[in-house]
Amino acid sequence: MGSVGAKEVPVLLTPDGRRIDGRTLDELRPIRIEAGALHQADGSAFVEWGANKVMAAVYGPREVHPRHLQQNNKAVIQCRYNMAAFSVDERKRPGLDRRSQEISKVIAEAFESVVFAEEYPRTSIDIYIEVLQANAGTRCAGLVAASVALADAGIPMVDLLPAVAVGKVGGAIALDLRKEEDNYGEADLPMALVPQSGRLVLLQMEGHMTEEELARSLDLGVQGCRTIYEKMKAALRERYAVGPPAGGAA
């Protein structure tokens, strides 16, 4: 979001509306989703999205740890979003920083909004998201991976949760920012959609936009989510077509 005293800003938008990597304003980066990428987890998915690589695993419903979090009338949904030390340019110290804890919270709340948690009282559904390689949009990639992992684990949900970030770059509203756009752009707006109801269960914003720009961003994001939704369903279809655990993040 344009930090003070930062070095010279690269050209983020060409006169003919092309972005730094040649995409149009409403174009997603390439995305590849693999359901069932792990063997130990009850459900898992690996997502490669632009230069992001994110693994998600789901365990549960199972016993709640720590015990005092147990709820009598529903499953507890716990999420741990974590970045590998080597996933970013400057090495990150292992462990959850405040940013990771905040993201874990909003992702857990997003899934609590769609999982039929009351079907599994006194249990825990644990979602683990590991960012292995980061290039802007990791929380959305994590949501997409976790959503497919939940489906892979057979957890009943209202719907899958496609997610994408919209941003403001060089004055224009653009879909699915990559790292340079996120670093030097004016705003970043990640969101997650329940396709069935058309409602948002995750929404954050940082930067600055006008009311009118926000309205356009929401519409662009919803449209992006619907595209990703199709890819998520395709990944799950492929998984069930293949049968037993495929195994292969690579």
């Binding site: 979001m1 003070v4 005293g5 909003v106 929404l203 940082e206 600055h208 009311e211 519409d219």
Partner: protein
């Protein structure tokens, strides 16, 4: 157990009222609780403000200390914002490391302050790459009766607006001088209660809520931060409506941050 039952009955009651456009404390859906702002409450701080939002009370204190600029921003000072949801303020808070709720408040407040460029950080630079001011904003929640985010940012911005740089005490200048604030971000928080969206939720309304949305705006007409929280969902149209309402309330609350008093 009986606590759970009571909570369920209360939630049902709040939702029933909301369906008629009413609230437990008699407010309309678009009405804030009574606000008071007292800058300078703590003289040991370089700036401070006690904010009351109905029964919610939040104290923000500013401390400035000499430090070193970050390598990638050699001409800028450093901001650090921290919110403590101390167990004194609510029966549900436990002593121990900061809980996700406290971290969320810290980060949402911090994000608004940064994105709005509340402080001109270059003015906090003393010697490029070598010496700058680090500005610590500590938010201490004293009484948590709901809507901590709005109260915390209002307290933080008011404290910043009334803060002094202790340049003399640290031997950096001949005299202390005002910190100066260049923008005044204000956060307005709404929760969904069935089909009704109410502003400035109480603690009980937050428990009953089906989604929470916070929108930060500044005095230039920009949206500078947003945060959806809690279980629940908002349609894009809900979001647009909330943003409009946030601009209106933001304007009114900003007067408290500038002027201080009620």
């Amino acid at each position: 157990m009986s606590g759970e039952v009571t909570a369920e009955i209360l939630t049902t009651h709040i939702l029933d009222l909301a369906a008629e456009g009413k609230r437990l404390d008699g407010r309309t859906p678009d009405e804030y609780r009574r606000i008071t702002v007292e800058p300078g409450f703590v003289v040991s701080a370089d700036g401070s403000a006690l904010v009351r939002l109905g029964d919610t009370a939040v104290l923000a204190g500013i401390k400035l200390e000499p430090g070193k600029p970050f390598p990638d921003t050699p001409n800028a000072g450093v901001l650090s914002t921290n919110a403590e949801l101390i167990p004194l303020s609510n029966p549900t808070f436990e002593p121990g490391p900061p809980q996700p709720g406290a971290i969320e408040v810290s980060r949402v407040v911090d994000r608004a302050i940064r994105a709005a460029e509340t402080i001109d950080l270059t003015r906090l630079c003393v010697t490029p790459s070598e010496k700058c001011w680090t500005c610590f904003t500590d938010v201490h929640v004293l009484d948590h009766s709901g809507n901590l985010i709005d109260a915390s940012l209002l307290a933080a911005v008011t404290a910043l607006a009334h803060a002094t740089v202790p340049a003399k005490r640290f031997g950096i200048a001949e005299a202390d001088y005002p910190l100066e604030v260049q923008h005044f971000p204000i956060e307005c928080t709404f929760v969904r209660l069935g089909d009704t969206i109410v502003v400035d939720p109480t603690f009980d309304e937050e428990q009953a809520a089906q989604g929470r949305l916070t929108v930060a705006t500044d005095e230039t007409g920009r949206i500078v931060a947003m945060q959806k929280g809690l279980v629940g969902a908002f349609s894009p149209d809900d979001v647009k409506e909330i943003v409009g309402r946030a601009f209106v309330h933001g304007e009114r609350l900003r007067a408290f941050a500038r002027g201080g008093s009620a």
